[in-house]
Amino acid sequence: MGSVLTRDVLVKWAPLLVLIVLILFFAAMEPRFFSVRNFARIGISSAPALMVAIGVTFIIIMGSIDLSMEGTVSVCAVVFAFAFIAMGGTLASFAWLALPLALLVGAAVGLLNGLVHVKLKIPSFMASLAMGFVGTGFALLLTGGDRIRVEDDLFRGLLTTRWFNFPIMCYVAVAFLLIAWFIQTRTTLGRNFYAVGGGEDLAHASGLNVNKVRILGFTLAGVFYAVGALLAVGRIGIAETATGSNFMFVSITSVVVGGTALWGGIGGVWNTLIGVLIVNVINNGMVVIGLPGYVQDGVLGVLVIAAVVLSTDRKSVTFVK
């Protein structure tokens, strides 16, 4: 049994080891990488990505996939900004209501996404891809292409106010990470994601309302996308149709790099945290060590492959598509 346990332990901690190795590597290449200020910078760039990645983690645990995050993030960001400005433009006024409103909008878009997937019986890849187009399109319709600036100092405190060297948005992200962890381990819904991902037909036969779990999963993901949208707006002070761009591939890559399997049932939000950090450490580290811009995409690709290879429990896999 001894050897089995060691292997299990290794598999469990492999993604973290990969992260540590990467950090040590970049620190060795450029000592300035290894500083609290830089970690805060990595934290800032990771925070919105982490929220989006956590959202999609739930979907991936169910064995589905969600490609709609770019649209959802844009819609939430834009609606938030409009509402925020309209209701006073500062957190000190009733404009704070725009925060829960954004989460509600995220939930609604996610719900719609889930309904299209489940009720029209369209595989989630296709349904969410198309819904992503609809989301981005809707955000564009709302803004007409304009950018909305959110200048309120209180709200921008997410970025500018620091506790222990880290801006508030990092703490917000951690708080929502803990909420996601709670949902994952301590609620029926969270556990049911694993049941659906581990064997959907079996879960159904056990009397689980799989369709409901799926729809709720997409709704929950929508809420986390909305949090991601808020942090993204907090980071650059602008809400626009393009707020959501680039989230899709980055978040899914992060989830997989963290060790959550695309075929479902394995992994969780802590894996996603590690995955997001790995991707952002690589991105930050490449610039910090002065790698020329044109090779960065290639290096990122190679490192991602290496990270997935190292952090996946490959013994549990018979074949991969």
Binding site: R32, S35, R37, T143, A232, I238, N246, V287
Partner: protein, 368 residues
């Protein structure tokens, strides 16, 4: 029920077109109409279209507003402007143009940025073949010239970015006191303006031997990417960075926020494009300079050139080469003149004379 009304109107028009086509068919000319190049266009009612990258960028929104202003001024109504959005895809750009040519049977006045330089040739060729009129901005390969296409390729306008970018760079370098380190955040690496704007900085640096160009990274014209790249620069170079040269305004926003996160609010920054928001920042002194390329005018005049050529107001082939290929206007904006500029150009958009095609332009395009 405007949809139904429109539908009926269209049907009537279509039927007429269809009948016309059949009539030509009887005369044996249809083959030319259907398969061959288009016939000489009647100079009436061309469809006016603008083809551009997307609506999520303030620059293109300004372009569109200019196009619409022209449509209103010409009495066509801004709703009559057809929008072709390529979403950054040359393939879609070309396919959309061809579809529109087919729909309008070549009776088209097209203003376009072809997204990637190589895409310009097939677009122009397609328009010329169908007998439409096209004016292009920004992307064009150097071997392609309007005068090689008779009247159909009306004009090409671009902006010489190297000079103005050098001017902003000088302002930046002066503000840095002629010493220290500067970083450049560029556009999509292979885009022509991105290359020119970096060159502008490099040209200026020759006169400032004490300033080091620490790094130049592409930020893809993207605020979020710029934000991340700037953060990483801060780690790598820290206090060595005493100035930031941005390839455009959207990049500058990301840079400003990255600095703001670090509590740095006195870093000298210059940018490009002269978006209203950036002009505001120049006014506040947060950006030292930006360059206004007047996209509103550019959007209007490019459509105007194509339209007036199409309806025969002027004959492009009679015009000299400097009226076919020319640089667009650039206005340097610094904190001194920002307020005035804002009042003149942004708060009240000037009413332009859309038939003064070449007044504000900056001379014929020179190839190196």
């Amino acid at each position: 029920m405007s949809f139904i009304k429109k539908f009926i109107e269209q049907e009537t028009v279509n039927r007429r077109n269809f009948l016309l086509a059949s009539a030509y068919g009887l005369g044996g000319v249809a083959a030319a109409g259907v398969f061959g190049p288009g016939m000489a266009q009647a100079a009436s009612n061309p469809t006016v279209a603008w083809s551009y990258r997307n609506r999520t960028n303030p620059y293109w929104n300004e372009i569109v507003s200019g196009g619409e202003a022209f449509m209103d001024a010409a009495g066509l109504g801004k709703d009559a402007l057809t929008h072709l959005i390529n979403e950054g895809s040359s393939e879609k750009s070309l396919a959309d143009v061809k579809a529109l040519l087919a729909k309008t049977s070549g009776n088209l006045a097209l203003a376009i940025d072809t997204n990637d330089a190589p895409n310009c040739r097939p677009v122009v060729e397609a328009v010329a073949e169908a007998g439409g009129y096209v004016s292009t901005i920004w992307n064009k390969t150097d071997d392609l010239h309007p005068w090689d296409f008779g009247d159909n390729y009306v004009s090409h306008m671009t902006w010489s970015d190297e000079g103005p970018a050098e001017q902003t760079a000088r302002i930046l370098l002066e503000a840095m006191g002629g010493k220290g380190g500067v970083v450049h955040l560029g556009g999509i690496a292979s885009n022509n303006p991105a290359i020119e704007r970096l060159n502008g900085l490099k040209n200026a640096l020759k006169d400032y031997p004490d300033v080091e160009l620490l790094a130049a990274e592409p930020a893809d014209w993207d605020t979020q990417k710029a934000n991340q790249v700037m953060s990483a620069f801060l780690t790598r170079y820290g206090d060595e960075i005493t100035g930031v040269h941005c390839a455009n305004d959207t990049i500058a926003y990301g840079v400003l926020e990255a600095l703001r996160a670090e509590g740095i609010d006195d870093m000298p920054i210059v940018s490009y494009d002269g978006n209203p928001q950036a002009v505001g920042l120049v006014d506040e002194g947060k950006i030292l300079a930006t360059v206004f390329t007047n996209p509103h005018w550019g959007g209007g005049i490019t459509a105007a050139l194509a339209y007036h050529a199409a309806i025969g107001t002027f004959k492009p082939s009679d015009e000299p080469n400097e009226h076919r290929e020319f640089y667009g206007p650039t206005i340097l904006i610094t904190p001194k003149d920002a307020a005035e500029f804002k009042a003149n150009y942004l708060d009240n958009v000037p009413t332009y004379d859309w038939t003064d095609f070449w007044g504000p332009t900056n001379g014929q395009i020179m190839y190196k």
